[in-house]
């Protein structure tokens, strides 16, 4: 199965994936194929991480994402992956991508609805 691996500790919330996708899918205002969730900034006052900051950005796919089927057919990268400024996204077969997991960042797999 194909999908996108995100090493989201490094996501900067730069919105490039969001805009790249909107343009590719021809979406309008408030419509997205991929959307960044933002948590924080917030300083932990409890638990083991007390005194440290949480400020995390992470993308999620919407119903509109088709994994850039027409682009990948032509050998091009999905728009969001191609433009990811933080180099924190990779596209491919999930069983290949899984080899990149190293415990040094938080990771997430994103897989869209099959059309």
């Amino acid at each position: 199965m194909k999908g996108i691996l995100v090493s989201y500790d490094f996501c900067t919330g730069c919105h490039s994936c969001e805009v790249a996708c909107k343009k590719e899918l021809g979406l309008g205002k408030e419509e997205y194929g991929i959307k960044i969730n933002e948590l924080g900034p917030h300083k932990y006052e409890n638990g083991k991480k007390t005194g440290t900051w949480e400020w995390t950005f992470a993308p999620m796919l919407t119903k509109a994402c088709d994994l850039c089927a027409s682009r990948t057919e032509q050998g091009k990268m999905p728009m969001c992956v191609q433009h990811c400024q933080a180099w924190c996204m990779a596209y491919g077969e999930l069983d290949e991508l899984v080899k990149k997991l190293d415990g040094k960042s938080r990771y997430a797999f994103l897989t869209p609805l099959e059309s």
């Binding site: 490094f10 969001e18 900034p41 400024q85």
Partner: protein, 825 residues
Amino acid sequence: MIIDYEEFENSIDPKAYHKGEWRWEEDGCTVTRTSHYSAPGCHDSCGLLAYTKDNKLVKVEGDPLDPAANGRLCMRCLDLVEAANNKDRLKYPLKRVGERGENKWERISWDEAGEMIKAAVKKLEDEGYGHESIFVANGTGRNTVWQVPLVAAALKTPNVGATNLSGQSCYAPRIFGTFAAMGDYLVTDVTQACEKRYSDPKWEVPDVLVVWGNEPLKSNADGFIGHWLLPAVQMGTKIISIDPVLTWWGARADYWLPIRPGTDEALALAWLNVLTQEDLVDHEFINYWCAYYDELKEHVAKFTPAWAAEISDVPEEDIIASARMYGSAPKGAIQWGLAFDTQVSAMEMCVTVTDLMAVCGNIDKPGTMKIIRNAFDVDAGESTSDIFCGSTFNKKLTAAVFGCEGMEFNGSVDSDAVNVAMESGEPYPIKMMWSQSSNALACMAFDAPRTYRAIKDSVEFCVYADPYMTPSAVAFADLVLPVSMSIERDSARTWWTPLRTMKKCTSYYEAKSDEEIVVWLGHLLNPEVFNRWPTAMDLVNDYIETALAITDENGNAVKPGFDLSFDLGADQRDAYDIHTKFRPIDSSKTAFDDLTESSCGYRYDEWNDTYEKYDKGMLRPDGGKGFNTPTGRIELISTVLPVWGIDKYPVHHENQQSVKWLNDPEYRKRYPLYCINGSRSYEFFHSEQRQMETMREFHPEPLVKMNPKTAEEYGLKEGDWVWMENECGRCMQKVTIFEGIKDYCLSAEHGWWFPEQEGAEPNLFGALDCNTNNLTHVYETGSHNIGAPRKTVCVRIYKVRPGDTMPGEQVTRLGGFRDYVNREY
């Protein structure tokens, strides 16, 4: 880890992305592989694939085969289609028909525009004024920096530069500071000078990165794409963040040092104190390459971490621990930014931090600070006007107007001196102004209300050239000229490396490119000089081949580039040869075509792609080892500063408002908060992109960050509009609650105007209403008029109420702010 550069390169399908081709047909469109470099603006030039059809830009994507940006466009270039085809674009030259400020215009031809300009210049001459009474205004470092000084050359004036940018307080102080200490400039080395990028076997990952006084991810400033740093972070670079505001870096840092605004120099001196006292320095590097280490050590002995803690409001133990972390790192880099320049200690700060890099040996070694120059020595900048303006050169408005002593090293005009000339007519009045790609009233100018009066009351004829109608043009212009966008121009860039071309793909009504405008104007007014460039393309080729240098009467080459060693009389490089180091691959082609067609629009040079240039005899004009300084070493106590009339021992200075804030309880009660002016966002570069719908969808209004405690104290909540006010004026922005800021600081955005609103006065597209520069003042600068306090203004805040007088009304109709700001609330 996701970054694996070789894997990335190998994964790019050469057929799908047309490797090696610069133009092809695809899906009924013509696709052009080129670089973007304003308009719309930014300091960088990312490689992109432009899809055009029927003379229209229809689609843009990043070019993964471009080593400079690897296809990773930011949201602004991804939205270029909206910029290029925007309904607000200027199509024809426009002549003012109503009063200034009424926003009433009539379409005229370029010929008629030319006649108007000629008549204005003739009038000025007939009235007995010299051409120095013409001020040419440039904006920030976009693809106008080498062109607009030629407007000054056409108009035969030496006065070209920024509008009310007191203290040249953007970027220039960092350049002057490193030049004073070591004769060259330094940038964080993240492989940008090497075509192989992150797979360059010479490169090493920095161990520690200090992100100081900027958010590079958002600002992309000074020819440095902030996200270049991300692969290094993925590869293990540790972070120290020095910033009053929490950024992406601070939240991921080993040490975040939230200093009181404007106290960076105290902290820098204390770091030097720790490094020298604890002997965390690189003695080998110091012995070989530096001078005056003992003198530096003695000078900083008194600047203890305890002393700096008191001033900077950062705990002493954090200052010590972070200094140790930086000093112990084998490879350290300091990503320095605008805050270095926007304070009165700017010169001191920039030499001190150069010393911090030098004593640790973090100079031109892989993964540290790289010595960088413009690729192939293609250097043309503001001083181009100096060699072409003729006899008016000696009348240039410099810091000498303020009695600054020492040799003049600032190639640009002193903008406070221009303001004096406008307001007082001394040493001569400013009668005419030409502004190209600068929206000073909304963005660059300190004290926007004062700027408004100064220009409006003094300048009799004013030309604006821009792709859009701007608030500044409505307020001041008598004639507005439409400018092409990047996609509509044949142009070239060297700001650092690589050398790049921008290939014209479309045209837009009667808009002319910046190159076409200067050539047109030059032929009209100064054909003697401009006959050298029959067409705009000739100018671009000459820029690449000679950087517009000339030969003087003795046969010596005179180069317009920013080169202090030249001023110091030391530069004997290529004394008779005006050519740059650029040589075409295909010599049957012009320089521009060769670059565009033979190497897909970019070329890296060997000089920048070399490490430890001081050990290879690459820095000094005499070809010897060492640095381009009087002693041939990095001067940890500079011998150049005294020549410039600046004390060679750097110390910390506070700006006037901070002095009062610290020492006068009444003042502090009145203006209890610091407003840190100019927080960046991904959507906008300075005042640009406000017309682009998608950018405004993401970021509709100006936001001021506020600590939850501050908000509670003032009864404010998320989304409330709030006035920020001090003795200079007031402006309003929308509150956003943010934990990562001290409770006595606010962080506000700059450059806001609203193209969708009424353009005529009093509103001026709302450009004065949210303008944080209403809170700033001119004439307060640092040593030799360098550096000015933009990010250290003290304010009070209160909620905006219905019926409040808008700053636009106050400034354009009610005579400014002086009457009501002293009233109590």
